[in-house]
Symmetry: D2
Subunit: 335 residues, 4 copies
């Protein structure tokens, strides 16, 4: 970490800062310039808060040289992480489709969709039992009953299931869930992340609507520092000034996250744009950019399941999507 | 709510949508235009998800006419909410200073600061016992012990205390806390908001870094719909493209939130800019704009308490700040 | 356009508004609701400023039903625009590579790169003669001399040239330029857009760093309303809170712009991320998402031309990129 | 400037970079660390493009130690710049109100408003003759005739006038204009900035909707490097994710810009929020935060001049605003 001090800084304040840094077990190399003094911090600077330093009266600017995440860092783990879930691998060149309804509504609904997407090549079934909704007056999900329905569908189809958790207090209900999803709004619910770090469940960690790549990796680090290294990162759109689409899909995230980290990276095009007609082209773009998989909302009865109609595909549209994505994957695998 | 449909929409899809809306107990008024069909939704549309409608193939655009929040809405509660905490009122023209250290570190630290800020006119003591940190390797707070220390300071000084909660599972520790703070990163931790709605504690609800005014009010609504109407809204800076400051203080939030809602609105200038030299001018701006109070970080020993030095004032600086803020409040109260 | 009025609006103000709207040749349909009055504006509302209405005391909210752009609107021109430049077509299924150096530096540099990219399948040569630089102390381009060099390269290779204009006063220098580029910072230089509307040159119009889709299309409309309908839209990254990359490539722009407009849409992945290692995966994503072409920076001498090294590829890297992009285009064109 | 290189960087690339830097007349100090090599650049680094360096394969990150702006930099000009316009000073503790209509519509309109705001204490008259409009179908201003009308009002009232320029080609029309305004959309119209640098007119330079503090100061630098040092900086709201208000007023800009630069800083609260009811509280906040002045839209005939009604005050509202702002200024000037 490099800290640039202002030229006119009082000597005692500079000394206090250096003393404090050394008390944090960080070595300090000082070089005096014409307009500023530069401190080079040496050793384990992961626990030094750069915002704290930036705010000091005597500090001009701060730059991290090494990233504060370790377990998630590709520098220390050059090989791709491959997560094996019921014999379905994700990461390291293994591409997976995760598909299913927005909300779990009934046994029949889930089973019908599960069978449909399975036929089209999806290996994972997703569905929301606990639903994070902006309004307390919106449907909050079937909760425990919803998880039961997903587990029944798993039994019938053999597909491992992915579903979202909203409170660590619900963890006992997730005992037979294969992949626990952390939603964008809970990406920095640090207490819950710590609890998930104590489980051995694969975690699908969604990027928050206004969180940076590094913050996403620090949230992965919260889970990994507890001992659970099975994390799948998921880009699902970020909040920008553009309001025509619900969010802006940050497709560069695929390349950058895979460069910074060894963890698998998937794309959720259904939530990013919030319009079903954006799902297919964005899924194809994600595959072309090198993503490790896709998470897609699929609904079964367009005339009734209005809720899913917004950003969900029909099974036939999903089938068409998988065919087009596979064309791209195949073309890129040819020599 | 108004829903504009595309001209070329298939008749059966339009009929399905209208049928579904009516099944949600919403009246539908249809008017046909040259380039589009406009549906006017009548009745209680709070539970109709506008994003869902926006995503439908046949929908051109959606506009809410009435806000989806009720308990927090000034239209239905024209009078300012005034919250009385141990005889200190906030809202309705009552301005309050909430001050104290970033993190609770020791009994002596907290007591010294508490006495200092009390002398300068602060009526509430703040201090972090549970600390939300981006990195798992940063100091996470003294937790239960921190709350004990705050309660001791409360006993000695008579100041009610404000401290942050990070998980509903910790609620029993907050039994004697006067005001429970919900941090920006947990503004949409809906499960925790629901639990707080079942308590009778005043809640200081911070706006998330990338959350709109309406989302903040919907989060207040989560708490209020549970029966707890004692909410203080807090603007603490939002995330924008500008990186010179940590966040951008949205001063317009004061006027807008007080127009949309009857709840008190305070400003936290310490976190917004992340630089101690921005705190005083922004506190003065907040008072001039009509805020109901300020939440300010104050530290005691500048040479040692480095952590606080970033965005915190010394007690002397805080005293100067209160004097300047009072000049403005007094000038505006004169006739 | 729909205008929702506040319930308690003074009658005379409402009447004044309606009178004013009618004086703008707009029909007004009034419907009274429980909590608000809704005005439906009928006829040509393109010249009614929605921001103006939004700011009125009596107005609750405003929603445009029809877009304010006409010439650029797919509703009125359902067919894709295909622009033919020296027998190279762009749009309507015709994919083009535009490649060349960031800045024109010398005759030899440009010719070497032009020949290199031509061999790899680029049909258009790009190069900056006038350079918009944030700092007045940075190299501002070779200007007229730079355009001369590009024209020489055009003569030798037969490639039409694309180069940026920074002031309408320079138009005479662009007489033999094939495609005039408007940079992101000048997207709303309305006076220059009007001048370009009076020429018959194809215009490559880049989206501003913080401009919406609709603003981009309104800027196209400025040019088209002057009579010049040959516009190529270009997404080149937008400004968001994420700072790891220079800008965030908004890949959804491809789908949305092609839905709203009949104009061709290309992607500039070199400027979006600002890192050469992002160019290839983003170019592939753009092709998969349905873009009509790519604009890519290529440099010739990595050890010397440092300037280009940031976001530019070597000719060999560009050749590899075109091969991978073609794999995708070919796979998608197969049946 | 500090440049951190990746550990595994090829030696020849590092040597090429250093050689190139030295050819730019920049000294290079190299220090080798465990995970990276750090280059310290010494001397005049203003012309070294940091984005260029950031994009290089071998570069991990880049940090500027000294700002690239010089003429605008407070470090080299510690004293506040005070601009004297027809005996009205701005900057250095001199607070000014600039007021007038959004658009110049007629002689009578401008004169009536000018006399009204003059009575309330405004010393400068503003009014738009050339109007930058998002849509080509919106009213584009009275142009030369509008400037004539402003000059007549100046003659009658003695108030110096402020009006916007949209193209350097119009400069001859501005010969008798006192302050030339550069609008937000032209903040990076570098060719026009250069032309303005060759005049001796005071320039009111508005911050672009998505431009950083440093970019604003670099645009000031464009003008100043041409010899014109009379610049007034103006914050007028930035583009964020919040859409309830037109833009978000960045009140921290006042403190930061005055810290980084010696130039006067004013606030335009009319455009920031886009709602007349936000103007007064934001004007008061600006005064409390230390701004050097305000630019306020005022209209004369609320029932007719609808255009101005959105974000403009009536003369009576403006009079009330000035009284409240003065209360704050007076309170802060007392001892």
């Amino acid at each position: 970490m490099i800290v640039v001090l202002k030229k006119e800084s009082p000597k005692t304040q500079v000394e206090n800062l250096i003393e404090w840094l050394e008390s944090q077990k960080v070595g300090v190399h000082i070089s005096e310039g014409e307009f500023s003094t530069v401190l080079g911090l040496i050793g384990d600077t992961a626990s030094v808060d750069e915002h704290l330093l930036e705010g000091l009266e005597i500090v001009e600017s701060v730059m991290r040289v090494s990233e504060p995440f370790k377990n998630a860092n590709r520098k220390f783990h050059p090989e791709d992480t491959v997560i094996d879930i019921a014999d379905h691998k994700i990461g390291g060149g293994n591409f997976q489709f995760i598909a299913g309804p927005c909300s779990v509504e009934s046994h029949d609904q889930v089973l019908e969709i599960a069978e449909g997407v399975h036929k089209s090549g999806a290996n994972f079934l997703r569905g929301g039992a606990f639903k994070p909704r902006t309004s307390p007056y919106d449907f909050q999900g079937l909760k425990a009953e919803g998880i039961e329905i997903l587990l029944e569908a798993k039994e019938k189809t053999g597909m491992p299931i992915v579903t979202e958790i909203m409170s660590a207090a619900h963890l006992p209900l997730f005992e037979n869930v294969d992949v626990i999803q952390v939603g964008a709004r809970n990406m920095q619910n640090f207490d819950m992340l710590k609890e998930l770090g104590r489980t051995n469940k694969p975690i699908l960690l969604k990027r928050g609507l206004a969180n940076t790549y590094k913050e996403l990796l620090m949230s992965a680090e919260y889970i990994m520092s507890g001992g659970n290294e099975n994390i799948i990162l998921c880009e699902r759109g970020i909040r920008t000034f553009e309001t025509y689409t619900r969010n802006t899909l940050d497709i560069q995230a695929v390349t950058v996250l895979k460069e910074l980290s060894h963890l698998p990276v998937i794309i959720d095009p259904s939530h990013a744009g919030g319009m079903s007609r954006l799902v297919k082209p964005m899924a194809m773009a994600a595959a072309a950019a090198g993503a490790d998989g896709l998470m897609i909302e699929v609904h079964n009865n367009p005339s009734k399941a209005l809720c899913d109609g917004a950003q969900s595909l029909t099974p036939a549209q999903f089938d068409d999507l998988t065919k087009n994505v596979r064309k791209i994957l195949n073309a890129l695998n040819e020599n």
